[in-house]
């Protein structure tokens, strides 16, 4: 299919454009920060897409993994001057351990019950991070120690330009991981679980194991993104990195809004949500911080009403309408 060939070309062109954009911008400017955050959330949405999209395990607790990553590398950097690359890997391991622990009570839960259980688990971790002040610094937050002679090894730079390229590289890698899983045997198994879990079991799919593998990959990626975020932001607190609205729901929303289970979904979702949120925040000021959440809700309801398959499907439909290709049941869009 031409569609299949077009996709890599489009993605490659997209990466090139994204790599060139910063050249025209002030490397210390506000726009660069928004672009970095957009790339970060596209990656986060894609990480969530592995469980939420492919297996329809709607997790609302992914902030737990993100925060574990951010805190682990930062604490290790503070205490032992450990490179965030290594701290990030340790964060990934801890996040996978937490995912394994969480799977014991949640793997058999379905639908709302799974969503609620993961939400509760994420909140539990946030409460722990707030009260375990000796290690985390508690509610006042934690700062990444500033190293005057920054380097790639210590993941510290004098402008956000290198951070931007790190976020971009991470996004490319995560999209490749997602694509590899989706088109491989695990993708078939997760799709089977999504579409009929009982039938999947009866024809030999170890549904528990498949969900567990997906959850661990997703958790590990999310944790490393937490480390990248910490090294970009330099200061954070438990309510930010373990937040339901700030991380967990936003990750899910970005994937669902863009087109759940599709490679392009989180990319479209993040490109839409993050700049809009930033614009709303700067326009209305911090006094109306709740407004962006309200806007999410409204947009989500609209998208679900218009097309439950998300924005990418909506775009595909519009395009088909304009090109006269009435193929509304083309669901194979990546």
């Amino acid at each position: 299919m031409t569609r299949q060939r077009l996709l890599p070309v489009l993605l490659f062109a997209g990466v090139i454009i994204l790599a060139l954009i910063p050249l025209g911008l002030d490397p210390r400017g506000y726009e660069m920060r928004i672009l970095c955050i957009t790339l970060l959330f596209a990656s986060l949405g894609q990480a969530w897409n592995i469980v939420g999209g492919l297996a329809n395990q709607i997790s609302l607790g992914h902030a737990a993994y993100f925060g574990i990553g951010a805190y682990t590398s930062t604490i290790l950097l503070k205490l032992f001057s450990l490179s965030p690359w290594l701290g990030g890997v340790i964060g990934m391991i801890l996040a996978v351990a937490f995912a394994l622990l969480l799977s014991l009570p949640t793997a058999r839960l379905k639908g709302h019950y799974y969503a609620l259980a993961t939400l509760a688990a994420g909140e539990a971790i946030r409460v722990i991070a707030n009260s375990w002040a000796d290690v985390t610094g508690g509610p006042v937050g934690i700062s990444v120690p500033y190293l005057p002679d920054g380097s790639l090894w210590m993941m510290q730079f004098s402008t956000v330009l290198p951070n931007y390229y790190l976020f971009l590289a991470a996004l490319v890698v995560i999209c490749l991981v997602f694509w590899k899983i989706k088109s491989g045997a695990l993708g078939y198994r997760l799709r089977a679980i999504k579409e009929n879990e009982q039938a999947a079991e009866v024809i030999g799919v170890d549904t528990y194991r498949s969900k567990l593998i997906a959850a661990c990959v997703s958790a590990a990626i999310t944790a490393f993104l937490g480390t990248l975020y910490a090294q970009f932001q330099f200061f954070f607190d438990p309510d930010t990195v373990f937040g339901v609205a700030t991380i967990s729901v936003k990750m899910a929303l970005i994937a669902i809004l863009g087109g759940v289970g599709r490679l392009s979904g989180p990319l479209v979702g993040a490109a839409f949500i993050i700049p809009m949120e930033e614009m709303a925040n700067s326009y209305f000021g911090s006094s109306a911080a709740g407004l962006s959440q309200f806007a999410y809700g409204a947009i989500l309801v609209l998208v679900i009403l218009l097309n439950p398959h998300g924005l990418t499907a909506l775009f595909a439909q519009l395009r088909d309408r304009f090109t006269g290709k009435g193929g509304s049941h083309d669901r194979s869009v990546a």
Partner: protein, 251 residues
């Protein structure tokens, strides 16, 4: 005689106060095509669900190739070589026919081999022409066939078919009968639930009869058709009604 492929010993399943399968005992030997019949609600599907691990039995033993399989998870039982089709059709509706079948093939194969195998099976079952159609867009008889193809792709030793001939035309039924026979000749053993008596009598060398969860008869079609308890169970239940509702004429 060789050891049975499947041994079912005193298997019972309760749902609350209801005993859906009551102390059922029988054997199935490799190479058999066994019919499982009985009025609506007799417990046929429930027995299939117990054999394949969808539900654990409340009590009793199930052995596959001499090893206990009762209460194992369905994917473990599938790996041991027993799977089933779903009476109410449980395909992966958003996926293509081919992808449905490939998923079954992943039980014993890596993805590329599973794809080859799935294509061969679609060929054999006569579904190649609709390989790329979304399962949710198929007619009911087509879906039942995809159920069979998907189950076959797991390479079962013992395949349980739950009313795959419902709603088929007589010609289509003949095709299924021929298919099951040829698969048996290639080494697959079958237990077949079917309401259509003519088809059952034609396909099976041996019949098991369930009534209110109890196994009331086990014998050749001729023996079964003369069995008083069977005749009573059917006539006492809705045998006449069931026969009248069949879309095709009976013997």
């Amino acid at each position: 005689m060789t050891a049975p492929l499947l041994e079912v010993r005193g298997v019972t399943r309760r749902f609350g106060g209801l005993i859906a399968v009551n102390d059922v005992t029988f054997d199935v030997h490799a190479g058999e095509i066994v019919g499982l019949i009985g009025p609506n609600g007799a417990g046929k599907t429930t027995l299939f669900n117990l054999l394949t691990g969808v539900y654990p039995p409340s009590s009793g033993d199930i052995r596959l190739e001499g090893e206990a399989s009762g209460g194992l998870k369905p994917h473990k039982i599938a790996r041991r070589g027993m799977t089933k089709t779903f009476q109410n059709v449980a395909l992966f509706m958003e996926s293509s026919v081919l992808d449905n079948v490939v998923t079954g093939g992943l039980l014993n194969n890596a993805l590329p081999e599973a794809r080859d195998k799935a294509r061969q099976i679609l060929d054999r079952v006569g579904l190649s022409a609709i390989a790329d159609v979304r399962a949710g867009d198929l007619s009911f008889p087509e879906r039942a066939r995809v159920e069979v193809a998907r189950a076959l792709c797991t390479e079962p030793k013992l395949l349980l078919l739950d009313e795959v001939m419902a709603a088929l035309t007589p010609a289509e039924m003949e095709e299924v009968i021929d298919l099951v026979r040829s698969l048996r000749d290639d080494g697959t053993t079958f237990i077949v639930v079917e309401h259509h008596m003519k088809a059952v009598m034609k396909l099976c060398e041996r019949l098991l009869v369930l009534n209110f969860g109890e196994l009331i008869a086990d014998g050749t079609p001729t023996e079964i058709s003369r069995n008083d308890r069977v005749i009573e169970a059917y006539l006492g239940a809705n045998f006449a009604k069931k026969q009248a509702s069949q879309p095709v004429e009976t013997a």
